[in-house]
């Protein structure tokens, strides 16, 4: 469970048996070719995979540099790549005979996906979500509840993703006999980083063949946003062996460098190695090892830690890390909407923003591939606020009056 010195499994003793069972089950499915087939089949019939790669002719022409292609994870059922991991873990959960699933969620996409999976597999489901995230991602909460999940607003700590993970661990140490913890990103204790990356590798497996077919060559640079790291790991795995393909992880730069202003672990210099939430990686923490507050317009990137394999690849200079500020994200989103009719999620817009910045400096025969990890519909409240949209505000006010405010 280690990548260089990062990773591992740091959990209370009470979970040892559960984790061993999970590791064994994951080994089983990894070596059972019929599992991947079943998984692919499920993703095809339920989620519409393979997702396409779209060529952005307008944006490429406008920037005048590299040719830009986008892997369209936003077209998945529930609107993001999160469903890949969740359906994989759903199949695994069935194999190990558990009847209840729990999950943390930041942007709400993972919770939405998990609630969907639970409905489809017939599992009981409880979703932990930081109270701050509940407030900023209420539409997802609404759908989770209607899909039959119980959503718990976590009031501890910073009330965001990391606190939801803590709360999941607390639930898990209590209910592991019937409960599987569907961790949503490629972080946390082994085997989660490996397992989540494994299910998400479906993105890269598809994308490699697709881009070769459509662009006629492998991409020169691949961009993905990195919160925990699952969509980035998912796509990057398709190109790890292609040394000429540069991999770029795009972190949440928030307001810019400086402790508490962002959620960038590697691109900025405010993080250091630590052990928390079950694994060893770079964390945004102070010298005592207490975690810093993080800040980002994208709830799904607003996380203190990062996938351990990505850290290792960064140290080996196989993956380059860049931070993108909230302001740059909003501009990139606006440009994508108007130029190509795409609405990337705020998370994915980080990858777009960085790609847009670099594309114009690249030559026209170079190829960029961006992971559109999710769609921006879910972000309407956040985006409307970021754009300070007056029509939206008066709509909400009218609605509130109608509700007797």
């Amino acid at each position: 469970g280690y990548y260089g010195e990062y990773g591992g499994c740091f959990l209370p003793e009470i979970l040892t048996t559960t984790i061993e069972e999970l590791k064994a089950a994951f080994q089983d499915i990894k070596h059972d070719p019929s599992f991947w087939q079943e998984f692919e089949q499920l993703m095809q019939s339920y989620s519409g995979r393979p997702t396409p790669v779209s060529y952005l002719a307008n944006l490429s022409a406008k920037l005048g540099g590299a040719q830009i292609y986008v892997k369209r994870e936003d077209l998945n059922h529930t609107g993001s790549h999160k469903i890949n991991n969740v359906m994989g873990q759903g199949l695994l959960c069935k194999r190990i005979g558990k009847s209840r699933v729990i999950a943390e969620t930041g942007a709400g996409q993972h919770g939405f996906a998990t609630a969907t999976m639970a409905a489809r597999f017939g599992f009981d489901c409880k979703i932990y979500m930081g109270a701050v995230d509940v407030a900023r991602q209420r539409p997802n909460v609404f759908w989770m509840e209607n899909l039959g999940a119980e959503v718990v607003a976590v009031q501890d700590g910073q009330q965001t993703l990391k606190d939801a993970i803590n709360e999941c661990l607390r639930d898990w140490v209590t209910n592991m006999h019937d409960t599987h913890y569907v961790l949503g990103t490629a972080a946390g204790p082994h085997p989660f980083p490996e397992m989540v990356s494994y299910f998400q590798s479906i993105i890269g497996r598809e994308a490699r063949g697709q881009i070769q077919k459509i662009a006629g060559k492998l991409p020169d640079r691949v961009f993905a946003c990195v919160g925990g790291g699952s969509n980035a790991m998912g796509l990057f795995q398709g190109f790890l062996d292609d040394q000429a393909v540069e991999l770029v992880g795009c972190e949440a730069g928030g307001l810019g460098p400086g402790e508490g202003n962002h959620a960038s672990r590697l691109a900025y210099k405010d993080a250091s190695v630590g052990v928390a939430q079950g694994f060893k990686t770079y964390f945004l923490q102070n010298k005592d090892g207490n975690m810093l507050h993080t800040k980002s317009v994208a709830a799904g990137l607003d996380y203190i830690g990062v996938n351990p394999a990505l850290v290792h690849l960064w140290e080996q200079k196989r993956v380059r890390f860049e931070a993108v500020t909230d302001a740059e994200v909003t501009e990139a989103l606006k440009l994508c909407m108007k130029t190509e009719g795409l609405i990337p999620a705020l998370e994915s817009s980080h990858a777009f923003a960085r790609a847009i910045e670099e594309a114009s400096k690249m030559s026209k025969d170079e190829v960029i591939l961006i992971n559109q990890s999710g769609r921006g519909d879910k972000d309407i409240f956040t985006v409307a606020d970021a754009l300070d949209d007056d029509h939206w505000k008066s709509f909400i006010k009218t609605k509130a009056e109608h509700y007797g405010a």
Binding site: E13, K162, N175, N290
Partner: protein, 256 residues
């Protein structure tokens, strides 16, 4: 080892030793001292001083809140060690560090153990550091006569309990049930059987925690273990009415 002898000597006078818990700096170091004075009066044998951490994922709601407020109010690791030094000088009971591994990791293993020793601590309980990851820290601690306390839990296989037993030092912290700290544990025959198994396997005395809160619990534990561990129940009493309520609580246990 020193800790074994201490336990043996304390056990000569009573059936069941007692370990209690405070969260350093919550609600304040001054309050901690008042709590500890009452605990000392009640004759506790060990106290865990929890070093507050921002991600206390193995703790229940009350300790989560305590950790969070302590961290937010600026309690540092340095202050915790200073406090530990003061406490171990002033009181008879032995003091252990309780906390999460990141606190240890950020200091470095040796620096941590050295500081702990300098502050008069006798061991540490780090619930998120599994045996597989613990060897370097434990090895160094043992060279410094600091006891790394390991945990046995009801979900462990017999084989795993055996492995834990082999790593045990000082005493074994037996977790009475699944879950986080702070909820009530039903002390029934099943728990008794499990404790007996742990006691049999363990080469050192066993202390039992998680949900120990009443006189009957201690009476039950006296039959199956060497030490009771009271955490949340004491803090709950303090929250209810500070010194008065905490005294009442220990009185209800028959200790005051």
């Amino acid at each position: 080892m020193a800790l074994n002898e201490y336990i043996a000597s304390r056990k000569q006078n009573k059936d069941l030793l007692l370990m209690t818990h405070v969260v350093c700096g919550y609600p304040s170091f001054e309050a901690n001292l008042k709590e500890l004075e009452i605990m000392a009066e009640a004759g506790v044998d060990f106290v865990e001083l929890q070093f507050p951490f921002s991600e206390p994922s193995a703790d229940g709601p009350l300790f989560v809140k305590a950790n969070q407020i302590a961290v937010e109010s600026g309690v540092t690791v340095e202050q915790c060690f200073e406090f530990m030094a003061k406490v171990s000088q002033r009181f008879d009971f032995k003091v252990l560090m309780m906390g999460y591994y990141n606190t240890v990791f950020k200091m470095g293993h040796e620096a941590f153990v050295d500081a702990l020793k300098a502050a008069g601590g006798c061991g540490f309980i780090v619930p998120d550091l599994p045996l597989e990851e613990a060897k370097p820290l434990h090895d160094y601690a043992k060279t410094q006569d600091i006891a790394p306390i390991v945990l046995m839990t009801p979900t462990n296989t017999d084989e795993r309990l055996q492995t834990i037993a082999e790593a045990a030092d000082g005493f074994v912290y037996v977790v009475a049930r699944r879950g986080v700290t702070g909820s009530k544990t039903e002390m029934d025959a099943e728990v008794g059987e499990f404790l007996d198994k742990c006691r049999t396997l363990s080469p050192v005395p066993i202390g039992v925690g998680f949900g120990v809160s009443a006189k009957e619990d201690l009476e039950f534990l006296a039959k199956h273990a060497d030490m009771g561990i009271i955490g949340t129940a004491a803090l709950k009493a303090w929250e209810r009415g500070e010194e008065k309520a905490l005294r009442d609580f220990f009185a209800s246990l028959g200790l005051l």
